[in-house]
Symmetry: C2
Subunit: 855 residues, 2 copies
């Protein structure tokens, strides 16, 4: 039989007492640290999770023994102490121990008003939290007098049919029981689980002797912190309110004053300079020893400072970066620790404009937060209008039912995007993230009428073109009017922080970048290179689209050659620009991928215009459009299938790539020897090894031709994009023919699940809510299914060719979970939207630190 | 150093000579067998593959020695002898050895005309095959006289600038060299490879002493076989022509007579009754000892019979079945051997009407042979017209650009189907095969105009509604007018043959059957059960479609319940009929699978009619249609995703299934105890185990409810359709929740390749021709990619649940290759279109026999 551990019902907090965060909670442990630092903390007793759990189950500890720790007739407070301060807990209860006798004694000592205030506060808290009475029973506005106290006591008795408890032990028992039970309520459990608390998270409680804050001389209470929680810059902020308790000074209370000497009015520094200095000193001590910025709750009683509590300051993401860097630069924490202080996802807030959290929000519609950041602008209903607005430097928000590749330029021109349809990986969402444009998709309930250029919200409001709106792509909200913003903070701290991350991480991070603009962002965010340069977006520009359409309608090889010869110099110019910007960083270019019908008009009007432009009969144009229409374009004639069926397209692209490589190599150095720009060419949508062989042969020929023409040896790397399950399964034989394999997890997820990302939006929300899928697999890499294919592909590829470069590109590339997965699977790099590069760099660094720590 | 085998340049065919088919060819071996059977075969010498290969390379054997085997001044023939008679070979050369001296001698002996005929034949053959001269040099119609011979010799000399060779050895050398070289030409190689010959297939030659067939008394030549090659029934057929050689009697030559006594005119039986009897006797001997029906080439010289050659009769498929059964029933071959005699694919010809091969064919267009058999009828351009025609018992052929689920009833009504778009697994093709309706898809070059109801062929002909056409789904041809047909032959031999197959096979064969009609065909073809009963086709009937649309437009749960309560009795009635027809054979019912938009109209007119029918505004109807439209319906909101999002549909279906099972169980036996009908319920498009759990729970509830209501215990089996790569990968956890897993190889192939079967048609042909894919993976199961997923799924499923039933359903189910794959992977059964069931039964039997043989 096991010996039962001695059950210690409570522990007085002393520098050496066995207070353990995992048993007594964060607040208890923090208070012990303050005690160790010699701060004037009133006497405190900690009740462990076990004790509190016992209380909820009916096993009340010896209340009188607890009270006896505080000497004769004490007043005490009870505060919650969960293991993590973010998990919440029931509100504090102050002034336990007040009763008629104590009231009479204190009235004599500190005056009737002050004593009344103390008693009234307790009665009201007790009535609400313990007896669960209605707040309205008490007149909150009435000044504290004996009469008001008596009225309150009478109201309590009338409602509960019992007098207000006078025995301090009984009072304490009631408070402890109510707090213990509140923690175990379903609502509280769900709330804390949403914040990441485990199912079995416990609650500790701390019972502390009251520092009254009410009474003679200078008495009062306040809150102080040494940083601006929005910026993270060093600045003492907080409030103090004379003759108050707890956190009364906050929330705009009349009479609350600033702490530092200030033009805005009286301050604690003026009122009690010595106390102020002492407080600032305590702040410094906290920062140095607790190794983070703390919010300190203090009380002044009769001129003497008491430190009641301290908890970490709730920092914005940019402040978290600033603070972490400052702490590390001050030698308080190591750089590695600093890196662990910021969640990668939080960097979104730093990278994009945010709606100022202090601004009022008028939410008109809600959708899916598809691309972070916020933007205000005038409502427009077409890409053309968006481009026209942008040409006049007018900020606009593009609103469409859904976007198509033809909208890319309009999306580029808009400050923000809003769509009625789609999910997190719809066209609009993917492109917007790539462009770094805030985007809300799947805004259920809005109705867009392109004809009348109006948008009707679910509550019946009608917006017209030109009306100001704001989209918040971080929350998925659409707000009325223009709203104040916080601008991105790509400052010294941000750069330093990510530079530290780069020193630590052990997996590459590249950017998906299709245009010179994207490439510039990739460089600005220190991507290791471009992991995915999609070439098709280059064809949607107006002049190119025309050539592209001529290509599609060319019946004769000569006509086709003609169209391609128009496209060649444009493509070459694109690549020259990108190679220049990327300098010595690698650029992986994916050959043309989309189905041809994406380049044809989608409506009758477009077909008519095209027929005119091409000088062909409408019926013929319509016929060609029909012939190219596909039932399931995702699974249709695209990628390498098109490359093999119309090989001239890849020929032209390969030539453009090689000629650009030679040109940029010559700019950057001698024309002799090997061209230093070594482009990477990637074949999309491979499903059979023979596809690779066929394309490879043609590309080799083009490379040899260009080398001869240009009298310049050139090197390049050829690889495939693994997007079909079959390519992953056949990676062994495919790897023999390629130097790199990049897993396109978007398409691979679509095919592994048999799930179109464009169509999944309609039920994905419900599916995740019901737990059918634990996560949206387009958002978080499905480790079990898609992940197994990644591992199969990586293993087989590596086995066949040990030096093959492995990577993933696509939306998952920037996620911590996916990066962890790829790192474990031995991938060389991940590639993601340029705006996700900083996140990925940080996530990769954290993973390296974690595995060094656990290894 | 290896000792070189003694190189024997030729071998005289005697009963004991070392003649080996793999070295000397089929004809040489067959002639040896005839010799062993004591038949009067003229002396014959065999040249091995090695010798002939040597001749082509310039190593001529000793011609004089060969000729010396035939005594003094012989005339000889040379015939080709490939290993398989189907692989072809150069034509025979007769009368080698004829020269001026021999001509003079023979003219004296058998008359000048006969001698001239022999010499002329040789000169002309030699000129064409050896000297490659133009046929037109010689007057083929001129009667054989000395003058004509001399003219021919002069023409030869004029053309070649050398006299016609007089040395028999030189003549033989020329013939041997030209035949050896002809075999190695590219054209000949491609032709025989198309017939299945290996790259290195060799050619043997046989040199045979001529039995002249020209000369005194009754002399002549003929061909005989003892069966009708179209029906396989015993019947002596053939022709005989006096004063002729080789196969001159065939091909409608004037003077050729029948063999048997006949009303049609003179016969060999009349002309030479003893020779006839002897010939018939030889025929019987051949059949008994060579164990197959042979075509015998014979010559009569001066009243004496010589057997020149024998080769297997080219039988039609139905004849092959008839002959195999007859040989087995006569005890000549075993049943197992009989089963190996017919290629499973050949059964298509037996099961479906065929264009009579003797009829002239006017091909108007060519497409892909998508569903075997042929049919004639009047051209119609819409399903409605097809149904109207069928109601009046008028045969019609439905022509559409492509078909949609709405066309199924029209396709049922039509005798044949022709589409402009699509591939072997397009909607039209799949449905047509299921219905057993002949179908040609992807008829490139035809232009259908629905509005004017006309069809224009590539060569500019214009056909109108009502014109007679014939579609041949076995060849992919579209013929003008109505063409004579051979009707299906599901006779005693066919039934016996497949009954033998069932006794041998060791893997189940079920049918995919959606309707009572399908089920009846499945029973007629002795399927072991229904492996896939798709329930959605049941909803396209007019009355049901209305209820289905009401369901889609229902905003309130009550309205939805209302629509479903209309559908319930119809579904129940469907299942009752199917259970009744299938009696004690298992029926596997797949729950509703397609996306809802398939049930909505596809054009504006349809939307208007629907708006009227539902009494709702057109804009609302159009809006709902738009909202349900998907980018990639294949990967959209269908299958279990719909089942979970709108659970009432599966609830209704489960109830219909259980109520039908109880009803039919009661008909067939006591109401006590367990209901004997045990339905199998299959969940489509699963990709996550939780989907199975959710549906399973609801189905369990419905089963319990129905059992209580009906006071009848009932059993059922629940399983999943494995169609997504993820379901195959997660088969281990999924198998815990289901009793069977059926691999839907159509969708699995689409998703593994990332290839839509509806869209692949545009490039699949080119892809297979270029060898990018070795076969169309929708046609032949891709063993490397899709196959690996099948094996992974099967292994993981079996490991988790050893008694799980494994099967495949879908188009691959009826293929020999797929059945072999499934058998090897330990699957329990395959399921295929009802019309493929006989093929699958035979293929399965052959596989069992082969593995017993090799095992």
């Amino acid at each position: 039989m096991q010996k039962l551990a001695t059950f210690k019902q409570f522990t007085t907090i002393t520098p050496t007492a066995p207070i353990i965060r995992e048993q007594h909670g964060f607040r208890a442990k923090c208070l012990q640290r303050l005690v160790r630092l010699g701060m004037p903390v009133p006497k405190t007793v900690a009740l462990s999770f076990e004790t509190v759990h016992g209380i909820a189950a009916g096993r009340m500890p010896d209340k009188a023994r607890i009270l006896s720790a505080f000497g004769d007739a004490p007043l005490v407070s009870v505060r919650s102490s969960a293991e993590d301060p973010d998990w919440g807990g029931p509100s504090a209860v102050l002034n336990i121990g007040m009763n008629d006798d104590r009231f009479a004694a204190m009235a004599a000592e500190i005056g009737e008003a002050a004593a009344s205030a103390l008693y009234l506060r307790f009665i009201q808290t007790y009535a609400g939290q313990v007896a669960h009475l209605d707040d309205a029973l008490f007149d909150a506005a009435a000044p504290p007098t004996r009469v008001v106290v008596e009225t309150a006591l009478a109201a309590f008795e009338a409602e509960t049919e019992a007098p207000f408890p006078q025995d301090p032990a009984a009072q304490l028992g009631g408070v402890l029981r109510s707090m213990a039970k509140a923690w175990e309520s379903t609502t509280a459990r769900l709330l804390r689980q949403a914040r990441g608390a485990p199912l079995e998270a416990g609650l500790g409680l701390v019972v502390q002797q009251m520092a009254l804050g009410v009474g003679p001389d200078e008495s009062g209470a306040g809150v102080m912190q040494a940083v601006d929680p929005l910026t993270g810059k060093a600045q003492i902020t907080g409030r103090y309110l004379s003759q108050s308790q707890g956190r009364d000074a906050l929330g705009g209370r009349e009479g609350a004053i600033y702490l530092t000497r200030d033009r805005r009015g009286p301050s604690l520094e003026d009122l009690a300079p010595q106390v102020f200095d002492q407080l600032v000193g305590f702040g410094d001590t906290c920062r140095a020893h607790l190794k983070q910025e703390m919010q300190i709750e203090f009380t002044i009683h009769a001129g003497a400072l008491a430190i009641i509590d301290a908890r970490p300051v709730l920092l914005s993401a940019r402040a978290a970066v600033e603070v972490a860097v400052a702490l590390a630069e001050d030698g308080i924490i190591s750089r590695d620790h600093a890196l662990m202080r910021v969640a990668p996802r939080a960097l979104h807030e730093v990278l994009h404009p945010q709606v100022d959290p202090r601004a009022p929000r008028q939410v008109m519609a809600r959708g899916i937060a598809a691309s972070p950041g916020a933007a205000s602008g005038k409502l427009v209903f077409s890409s053309t209008t968006a481009q026209a607005m942008a040409a006049q430097d007018e900020a606009c928000i593009l609103v469409k039912r859904e976007t198509t590749p033809e909208d890319v330029r309009g999306m580029h021109a808009a400050r923000g995007i809003l769509t009625e349809k789609g999910g997190v990986t719809s066209h609009a969402a993917v492109i917007a993230r790539g462009l770094g444009v805030p985007c809300v998709v799947g805004a259920i309930g809005i109705r867009i009428d392109r004809r009348t250029k109006t948008l009707r919200t679910q509550d019946g409001r009608l917006l017209r073109e030109g009306d100001q709106i704001t989209v918040d792509g971080s929350t998925g909200e659409v707000l009325d009017g223009a709203v104040p913003m916080l601008e991105p903070a790509l400052d010294h701290a941000f750069e330093t922080f990510l530079h530290w991350a780069d020193e630590v991480r052990d997996i590459g991070v590249r950017a998906n970048a299709d245009t010179p603009e994207d490439a510039a962002i990739a460089v600005r965010f220190h991507a290791d290179g471009i992991g995915l340069c999609r070439t098709e977006h280059m064809f949607f520009a107006e002049d190119r689209l025309t050539a592209m359409r001529e290509l599609i309608f060319a019946d004769l090889p000569e006509d086709r050659a003609d169209a391609l010869s128009q496209l060649l110099p444009m493509q070459r110019a694109d690549f020259i620009q990108i190679f220049r910007i990327m300098a010595d960083r690698p650029v992986c270019i994916r050959l043309f991928d989309p189905p041809l019908h994406e380049f044809l008009p989608h409506d009758r009007q477009g077909a008519i215009e095209l027929a005119e432009a091409l000088d062909r009969p409408l019926s013929e144009v319509q016929r060609r459009i029909d012939a190219l229409t596909e039932f399931n374009p995702m699974l249709g004639m695209r990628g390498v299938r098109l490359g093999i069926s119309v090989p001239e397209i890849y020929d032209m692209q390969a030539r453009a790539i090689f000629e650009a490589a030679v040109a940029v190599s010559r700019e950057s150095g001698g024309a002799d020897g090997l061209a230093p720009v070594v482009p990477e060419i990637m074949i999309p949508l491979v499903s059979a090894v023979r596809e690779v062989e066929l394309v490879k042969t043609r590309i080799q020929t083009i490379a040899a031709t260009v080398a001869t023409e240009q009298e310049q040896d050139l090197a390049y790397r050829l690889g495939v994009m693994v997007e079909t399950p079959r390519a992953a399964l056949r990676a062994g034989e495919i790897a023999h023919h390629c130097e790199f394999m990049s897993f396109g997890t978007n398409d691979l997820t679509q095919m592994t699940y048999g799930l179109s990302r464009d169509d999944a939006g309609r039920f994905m929300g419900a599916y995740v809510r019901q737990g059918v899928f634990s996560e949206d697999p387009f958002h978080v890499l499905d480790a079990d299914g898609v992940g197994e294919l990644l591992i199969i592909g990586a293993e087989r590829g590596r086995k066949a060719r040990p030096d093959v470069t492995l990577s993933i590109c696509g939306e998952h590339g920037g996620n911590s979970e996916s990066i962890a997965f790829c790192r474990a699977a031995g991938f060389d790099y991940v590639s993601c939207s340029p705006y996700r590069v900083p996140l990925a760099r940080l996530a990769a660094a954290q993973l390296a630190l974690k595995s060094a720590h656990s290894g």
